[in-house]
């Protein structure tokens, strides 16, 4: 148990945490009956993935990814040692997640708008009641 903890959990604790948070979100999407609770779960699910990406870019002891002018010129001239990649955090996953956050916000916005319309039409946000009322609509057709 202890070796498992030392070898698999501690070095990769960011993955463990992301998977646990993601599963909480997914469980809520599947198991909850209230549409808003489903959306909360969906947001948790998406945020867990953001955490995964953000943790990819982190390096211990590294600083912000702004390269000073002199070093950049040396590096472009072909001096490989001018920039020490271990001293700079990887910005790409963070930038990617900016896009993914925007996507998540947009999805949540559309979903909340849909919830509003569903509430107006059916007077409830509980999924089973909505489905029952839809079945009642079916019989009219």
């Amino acid at each position: 148990m202890e070796t498992f903890f030392k070898e698999a959990v501690v070095p990769h604790f960011n993955f463990w945490i992301y998977v646990i948070i993601m599963m909480i979100g997914l469980w809520s999407v599947i198991a909850k009956n209230n549409l808003i609770k489903k959306l909360i779960g969906l947001s948790i699910f998406q945020t867990a993935i953001l955490l995964l990406y953000v943790s990819l870019g982190v390096k211990e002891g590294a600083t912000i990814p702004i390269i000073d002018h002199h070093a950049a010129e040396l590096s472009l001239a072909g001096d490989a040692a001018a920039i020490n990649p271990d001293a700079i955090a990887n910005p790409v996953p963070h930038v990617l997640m900016l896009t993914a956050i925007v996507v998540g916000v947009a999805t949540l916005g559309v979903a909340l708008a849909l919830c509003q319309v569903i509430y107006k039409d059916f007077g409830t946000l509980e999924e089973d009641e909505v489905l029952q009322k839809i079945k009642a609509l079916h019989d009219d057709v």
Binding site: V29, I49, L114
Partner: protein, 518 residues
């Protein structure tokens, strides 16, 4: 100018959408010319891309000139696999746009500009998914497509479409997130998001390519994409979402969204993970082909049980997705299965478009929702019904429609790969389709028509002395798209030779990239 064709395909509908947002709200008359001209520009660019790829091979385009070494370039890549798909997307979108001319906003006209903005943004997303060469951009554009589809489905006036859109949203977001996780694992191991780079790294490092992380990434990507394309166990959102959405939305969503997802799967298999690696793991292929067989059988069975026209067509889409996934995973050495899949993406987009346009016209101008409502439709709308018949025959797979040839290539691949279950499923599904459509044709030709039943006694039939059957075609803006789609279904079938040859040059080219990458 012609160097910028790959980005112009995207920009035309994007700027069209912005223009509509700025000016369309005040004056609805702006909408239609903007939408049509944007789509015509896209269509011309797409055709231009096909011609350039045909003469000069793969086109690479870096947006804003940022080249790849900086790691931030956005690469658009057009080759022989995706350029025909671009043309088909533009064509189907144009047909759907013409179809919606007057009745997109007829019910509540203040929504017309909103509808068209979403419509154009959907086109941007579809073109983008097809042409991009970057795995992360695929995620973003999948979400652009998905968000606009939720809007287009929920814009209808029925109460059901909102709930359907909500379910689609939940499933779609989970699917796209799975794809994102897969891409994250790829980035974690390989440090690149460019599809070509990923492929080269994987091809040069065999132990890395066989590592568990890369396999997990592939499985996540596949499951995400399968959710998006409604592959059988993950299909739950599709029938309600497409059948309760307004006809104009269904006419663009149903033919294109699932097909473009199939293309993403093909792209991931061919030029990210590499076909020979997939073929080395034969048991994966067998497993997926079995899943596809289940999807085909389930889709056909569900279609038999439906009583509404659009629901039935939606179930057929699920079966067709099964054809395409199975075909891509056959793994026959000559790649006929994969060729059939890419050809079927084109063919299925056109025939689904034809059927949904015709079904939309029937629903709008005949009030036909259920199969029984179609009785006498051949007398009332002979031309529109002829379009429907062509689409139906194509789904069954009758020559010379394109459906016959795609099935021919798929079955050829399956026989060469020895996947007899898949052959059997394909043939059985064709028979089921024949049953389905001939049932509709029977209702539509011989079904009890309240007008016709009066003139049953006399020998010439058709109610000569009683009330004559009123022939009332749908208006021109609905009739023309149906007929054009039907004509394209037949033309794509007749000219399947050159199209397939073109697609195969693309597949062989990527195979050559594989061998030089080693």
């Amino acid at each position: 100018m012609s160097d910028h064709l790959p980005v112009l395909v995207l920009l035309a509908p994007l700027f069209g959408a912005i223009t509509l947002g700025l000016f369309g709200m005040k004056d609805h008359r702006v909408c239609l010319p903007v939408v049509l001209s944007a789509l015509v520009v896209s269509l011309c660019c797409a055709i231009g891309i096909v011609l350039k790829v045909h003469s000069g091979g793969t086109l690479d385009y870096f947006v804003a000139g940022w080249k790849e070494p900086f790691g931030i370039g956005i690469l658009l890549r057009a080759d022989a696999i995706n350029s025909p798909i671009l043309v088909v997307i533009a064509t189907v979108a144009l047909l759907a746009a013409v179809f919606t001319v007057r009745h997109a906003g007829e019910r509540d006209s203040e929504k017309t500009p909103h509808f068209y903005i979403l419509f154009l943004l959907l086109c941007v997303g579809l073109f983008g998914i097809t042409i991009t060469g970057d795995a992360f951009n695929v995620f973003v554009l999948i979400e652009v497509t998905a968000l606009t589809s939720y809007g287009l489905i929920a814009i209808g006036s029925s109460k059901r479409c909102k709930v359907a859109a909500f379910h689609y949203l939940v499933m779609g977001t989970v699917g796209a997130s799975f794809y994102l996780i897969g891409v994250g694992y790829l980035y974690l191991k390989l440090g690149s998001l460019n599809m070509q780079d990923i492929h080269t790294i994987l091809a040069s490092n065999e132990t890395l390519a066989d590592s568990r992380a890369i396999r997990t990434a592939f499985v996540f990507i596949l499951v995400g994409i399968w959710t998006k394309m409604a592959f059988f166990p993950l299909h739950g959102w599709l029938p309600n979402a497409y059948s309760y959405s307004p006809s104009g939305s269904a006419a663009i969503l149903a033919p294109l969204v699932t097909k473009v997802s199939v293309y993403v799967m093909v792209r991931m298999m061919v030029s990210v993970f590499g076909l020979d690696r997939l073929e080395a793991n034969v048991e994966w292929g067998h497993f997926v082909v079995w899943l596809a067989v289940i999807a085909i059988v389930a889709g056909s069975t569900m279609a038999l049980a439906q009583r509404e026209i659009k629901k039935m067509l939606c179930c057929l889409i699920i079966a067709e997705v099964g054809y395409m996934v199975g075909g891509a995973w056959l793994g026959d050495p000559q790649r006929w299965g994969l060729t059939g899949t890419v050809y079927h993406i084109l063919a299925d987009a056109l025939m689904t478009s034809c059927l949904f346009l015709a079904a939309g016209a029937f629903a709008k101008w005949h009030g036909a929702i259920k199969l029984e409502d179609l009785s006498g439709i051949f007398c009332k709308m002979p031309l529109a019904s002829a379009g429907f018949v062509v689409g139906g025959l194509a789904i069954i797979g009758v020559p010379p429609t394109c459906g016959f040839y795609s099935k021919f290539y798929l079955i050829r691949g399956a026989i060469e790969a020895g996947q007899w279950v898949y052959v059997a499923a394909l043939l059985a599904s064709s028979l089921v389709n024949a049953v389905l459509f001939f049932r509709i044709f029977e209702i539509a030709y011989f079904g009890k028509n309240p007008v016709e039943s009066h003139g049953h006694g006399d020998d010439h039939g058709h109610g000569h002395d009683s009330e004559p059957v009123v022939r009332r075609e749908p208006p021109l803006q609905a009739l023309v798209p149906v007929l054009v789609a039907a004509a394209l279904v037949i033309l794509l079938g007749l000219f399947n030779g050159p199209v397939v040859e073109f697609i195969r040059t693309g597949l062989i080219e990527t195979a050559a990239v594989v061998s030089t990458g080693r």
